[in-house]
């Protein structure tokens, strides 16, 4: 597992290195090959951004940040962390912009296609219930859900610390709070038997 984590980190470093050398085409090829585009689009979509917007956001990130600002990365070993931090900020900005410009439609006209599907009824299985609660958790606690994503993406505490900009102890505490908060969401699923 450790090998995989290191290699993923090295992949990002390799892409940044190629961009710095001016080999843009090769860098873009690796960006697709290492599935970074999918990863980032998925990351944005988990934060309630639809596919088109997420794709535009990743495109903007590739041009404005990866291509233009790749020289400003201080420690190239943490290139993947830097990419996540920058992209996460862009997603937050996009969310804020959408919130500002959003016109709240009347209840009957509200488009439900983009909203995550959360059924009010209890699921038949416990795993289904947890899936629904995860979607609810994302809506209610987007920042904590982001940290859960980082943990599940095999990022270590040091890397998460750099992304969220806290001290090591504070990050551990925050991760513990995320776990407890999520557990409070999934308490209702405990009643369902597999």
């Amino acid at each position: 597992m450790i090998k995989e984590k290191l290699s993923k980190r090295n992949q990002a470093t390799e892409i940044i290195q190629l961009l710095r050398e001016g080999r843009n085409d090769e860098a873009l090829m690796l960006f697709e090959k290492y599935r970074f585009r999918k990863e980032f689009i998925g990351f944005a979509m988990k934060r309630n951004i639809n596919y088109d917007d997420a794709s535009d956001l990743v495109q903007k990130f590739t041009i404005d940040k990866l291509y233009m600002k790749s020289n400003s990365i201080k420690n190239i070993e943490f290139a993947r962390t830097w990419m996540y931090r920058v992209f996460s900020n862009m997603v937050n900005d996009q969310g804020r912009m959408l919130k500002k410009n959003r016109e709240v439609p009347l209840d009957e006209d509200r488009d439900q296609s983009q909203a995550p599907k959360i059924s009010d009824e209890k699921s038949q299985t416990r795993s289904g219930c947890v899936q629904e609660q995860l979607a609810k958790f994302r809506e209610a606690e987007p920042k904590r859900a982001e940290v859960l994503d980082y943990i599940l993406l095999n990022k270590g505490t040091e890397e998460i610390r750099l992304i969220i900009g806290r001290s090591y102890g504070a990050t551990r505490e925050y991760m513990s709070q995320c776990r407890k908060k999520f557990r409070s969401f999934t308490e209702i699923c405990n009643e369902i038997e597999e």
Partner: protein, 247 residues
């Protein structure tokens, strides 16, 4: 956080990340596994919405990068120089220091030159023929003074051995360097268009020898002397002006 909580958190994280964990609480393990399964299912659902290869995406990125590269202005010398602000600041400071030091050195050299040019010896007032000034001085006269000193930068006048800086009373009636510089005698000679007598009058007024010191009077007599072609009088006039003693 307590150690127990730390251990539970670490076990939970390890289970989520698929690492081997021993001695974990069964409830925590189940909780972690359920979360991981839910996350994988969610990821799969999202991944299905994302196409594997998006050529339009890369085409747009390539076009935008090409556009950016084309619109980049070519760096000229000044742009590249001022990109590094620290370097520019350092060079400006050094440049300013160099200019300041040069100015100070130049001022020092000029003041030394002025002092050297200042003639404070009275002249002989023997039979003098008035020479017409000619533009063509010749190489020797132009670059060397009467003592043979090089005057390419400034003329040097160093008193020879035996020369006295101030006039000595030899009890004669002439207005010369080895006689009493009396105002009456000097005025008689000065009115006879003797340039050296006029120069000596200027010197008397400048130094206050036998007369009340007056730089204005001194300047006037130097001017009269230089009008007769006396170079030393002209030099002393410049000295008075540069020192700010007149005007």
């Amino acid at each position: 956080m307590k150690n127990k909580e730390q251990k539970i958190l670490q076990d939970w994280i390890n289970t989520l990340q698929g690492n081997e964990v021993s001695g974990i609480d069964s409830e925590t393990r189940l909780e972690a596994r359920l979360l991981k399964n839910a996350w994988i299912a969610e990821n799969k659902r999202i991944e299905n919405e994302i196409p594997d290869q998006d050529d339009v995406f890369y085409q747009n990125v390539r076009e935008a990068i090409a556009k950016r590269e084309a619109s980049k202005p070519s760096k000229d010398l000044w742009t590249s120089f001022f990109e590094n602000k620290f370097k520019a600041f350092l060079i400006i400071i050094l440049g300013t220091g160099f200019v300041y030091a040069s100015k100070k050195t130049y001022d020092g050299v000029v003041s030394v030159a002025n002092e050297l040019n200042h003639i404070i010896l009275a002249k002989e007032t023997g039979n003098e023929t008035i020479k017409n000034e000619t533009n063509d001085k010749g190489f020797w006269n132009e670059h060397f003074d009467k003592h043979g000193g090089f005057t390419g930068f400034w003329s040097r006048y160093t008193p020879e051995e035996g020369e006295k800086i101030l006039p000595v009373n030899m009890d004669d009636n002439l207005c010369s360097y080895n006689a009493t510089l009396s105002l009456e005698n000097c005025l008689v000679l000065a009115n006879q268009y003797n340039s050296n007598a006029r120069f000596n009058l200027g010197l008397m007024y400048e130094l206050g020898v036998n007369v009340n010191q007056s730089y204005v009077q001194a300047f006037e007599w130097y001017k009269k002397s230089s009008s007769l072609g006396n170079e030393d009088a002209r030099s002393n006039m410049e000295y008075l002006i540069k020192k700010g003693l007149v005007y």
